[in-house]
């Protein structure tokens, strides 16, 4: 009996899925088909949620002119290759792969589908039909540094990093530049969580920082755990990727918010008008696809839980970065062992940022590995 039921059920499932696909392909024609690959389910905070908001902006802007397919919860690695290939097979014309670890899978599939355009988020490898997009997250961290430097009483800043890669290290160094622009006595201690996402470990790291005397916390990991601990223990901190003040109304000073929507819209428009390109030129990190505060790809949430004088300074830093008056990595730059990185009058270019494997002055310890 059970076997019989199972057979009937599988027959049902099979015919339902066949019907679904027939229906699906019969009505797809005119709209531009856009695919998204997400690392996790969007939830309502953090990295993937920021992409989800971007996707929603795309849908709002183009309406029925686009047909968006999303695959959530795709682990980085072989699974990603399969998912991206499937999206390409289904006739998506442009596919956004929204995590660093999708870099090789994206390139691999792109080779098999030369007519499909791929946009890899935060990667550094491109090919004829693979472009890369990224946000200058470090610009927000400079402002965090300014606020931290003015707010700290113990002069100890606790920083939680995910992995010691250039992306994260340049954020720490940018934070240090902001910090030292207002407070020469404060310094940053870094704890590497060796994961992007492990709420308990992030909470533990936050507790350790506080026990070691830090009163301002910053993070480059994904969960709101650090802010919750800060809230509980009376410390202050910054939100990551999205506004996290709901988790820590008394502890969040502000959040750097990733705003992918305008970038997605621009790239889809380029595709529709036949102008899509990888932006490759002699300068590998062509600035137009690595947007920050000025390009409004990085937004700064409301300044809160700080006196007006500090908020004013923060606003000045924000305006300075927007207008280009503040050049975060301008010389003279000295690393934390005293070695000169770049003399006065020069500044680090984008390529140098992606090669960062040292801490600037103001950060304790050394980069692991």
């Amino acid at each position: 009996m059970l076997k019989f039921c199972m057979r009937i059920f599988s027959l049902f499932a099979l015919s339902a899925s066949v019907l679904f696909f027939m229906f699906n392909s019969a009505f797809a024609g005119n709209p531009t088909k856009v695919g998204f690959v997400y690392l996790t389910t969007p939830g309502d905070h953090g990295w993937t949620y920021a992409h989800e908001l971007g996707k929603q902006m795309v849908e709002k802007r183009f309406g029925s002119d686009v047909k968006v397919s999303v695959v959530e919860n795709v682990p980085e690695g072989p699974d990603a290759t399969r998912v991206i290939r499937e999206l390409a097979k289904q006739g998506n014309e442009i596919i956004f792969t929204t995590s660093f670890g999708y870099m090789e899978p994206t390139l691999k599939v792109a080779k098999e589908f030369p007519n499909v355009k791929f946009e890899h988020i935060t990667g550094y490898k491109r090919s004829k039909n693979v472009a890369t997009g990224n946000i200058r997250f470090y610009e927000g961290r400079y402002i965090q540094g300014v606020v931290a430097g003015l707010m700290t009483k113990t002069n100890k800043i606790g920083y939680i990093g995910a992995y010691p890669i250039a992306e994260v290290i340049m954020g720490i160094n940018s934070f240090a530049q902001g910090l030292r622009s207002v407070n020469k006595d404060a310094s940053i201690s870094v704890i590497w969580a060796n994961t992007w996402y492990d709420p308990v470990k992030e909470a533990d790291a936050a507790k350790v920082h506080i026990a070691e005397g830090a009163d301002i916390l910053a993070q480059h990991t994904d969960s709101p755990a650090m802010l919750q601990i800060a809230e509980k223990k009376g410390a202050l901190g910054f939100g990551q990727s999205t506004d996290m003040s709901a988790f820590a109304p008394k502890a969040q000073l502000f959040a750097s918010i990733n705003n992918w929507g305008p970038y997605y819209i621009r790239k889809i428009e380029e595709l529709k008008t036949g102008k899509w390109n990888t932006g490759d030129g002699p300068d590998h990190w062509a600035g137009n696809d690595w947007g920050g505060i000025k390009a409004e790809m990085l937004l700064i949430s409301k300044f809160q839980n700080m006196p007006d004088s500090v908020a004013k300074k923060a606003q000045e830093a924000l305006d300075g970065i927007k207008s280009g008056k503040i050049n975060i990595f301008a010389g003279p730059l000295v690393d934390n062992t005293g070695k000169e990185i770049i003399p006065a009058g020069k500044s680090l270019d984008d390529g140098a940022l992606w090669g960062m494997n040292y801490y600037l002055k103001g950060v304790n310890g050394k980069v692991p590995g």
Binding site: G158, Y197, D198, A203
Partner: protein, 303 residues
């Protein structure tokens, strides 16, 4: 120092509870690799209950019940249908990861008040020790009570001896008339309850929110911990504190800039487990093994 000790204890408690539950399950001869899944369901159930009933103590009960529910699913398959325990346990974790993601979706972004600390009269005023030992939350006291109880249960009570007999040789236990399947069901459900409460501790105390897969592998560490403790309850306390201590030590080491790579410290608990395993297998020849002899073997009562 106080604050660090408290952090270590808090980190250890989910491990401690889940490992204790698994110890009882394994003592009855059932290997349930679904601890991670049971912890996750405990976590999501607890948070849901607290949001609904607005009392953190219901979270503990709900967490325990969700764990039992998961363990029942496991027991139906492995004990009644005699499926392979390893495969079913792994399946349970994968199933629970998906299910909790689905069930937890409406809870995302909500936060709850954490479990209150209970101060024990006078004792909590003792400097240093009082703060650490007598100013904990309910689950922390509960977990210590459970360890003491099961130590007594396994060693001195008749039911405990029957449980061990079932785990060591289910055919003999069956032939003298003990209900092997029933006992294994109880043991597996107790394991589920403990894992569920252990999981509940994460959203109730450590980080009061829900996010998918928030146990992040602690269930697997709990499994290693049972082996590390060589199936002796009090050693789980030691093991959990060592595992928790090393986790925190590597964070402290980084904050203070110790010249030890954090990866080496992260490796230590697992190295310790391997060493413990080697020592156990070395001892088997000398005396009776501590490993339940029927562990992982399905029981067919028709034989």
């Amino acid at each position: 120092m106080d604050a660090l000790m408290l952090t270590i204890i808090a980190t250890s408690i989910p491990l401690l509870l889940a490992a204790t539950g698994e110890l009882i399950t394994e003592k009855s001869g059932v290997l349930n690799l679904g601890v991670e899944g049971m912890m996750l369901s405990g976590a999501v159930g607890a948070l849901g209950a607290v949001l609904w009933l607005e009392n953190p103590y219901f979270g503990i009960i709900a967490g325990g019940l969700c764990g039992v529910l998961m363990a029942s699913i496991f027991s139906i398959f492995t004990i009644n249908f005699m499926t392979n325990q390893v495969a079913t346990g792994l399946g349970l974790t994968i199933f629970a990861t998906g299910l909790t993601g689905l069930a937890g979706a409406p809870l995302v972004g909500k936060t709850v008040p954490s479990l209150p600390k209970i101060e024990i009269f006078l004792l909590s005023d003792i400097p240093f020790i009082g703060e650490i030992l007598f100013k904990q939350d309910f689950i922390a006291y509960l977990s210590v009570a459970i360890i003491i109880l099961i130590t007594y249960f396994l060693k001195y009570s008749k039911s405990g001896i029957v449980l061990r007999a079932v785990g060591d040789d289910h055919q003999s236990a069956h032939s003298v008339g003990y209900p092997v399947k029933k006992i294994r069901w109880y043991a597996a459900c107790f394991g589920g309850m403990c894992a569920g409460i252990g999981g509940a501790y994460i959203p109730l105390v450590l980080t009061p929110h829900w996010s998918e897969g928030m146990t992040a592998g602690r269930g697997w560490i709990a499994l290693a911990l049972v082996v590390f403790a060589s199936w002796i309850p009090w050693r789980i306390i030691v093991g959990a504190l060592i595992f928790g201590g090393i986790t925190i030590a590597q964070l402290v080491g980084q904050a203070r800039g110790w010249p030890i790579p954090s990866q080496i410290l992260s490796m230590m608990p697992y190295l310790a487990t391997i060493v413990a395993l080697t020592m156990i297998s070395g001892r088997i020849s000398k005396s009776n093994s501590v490993v339940p002899a029927s562990l992982g073997k399905p029981f067919f009562d028709t034989q």
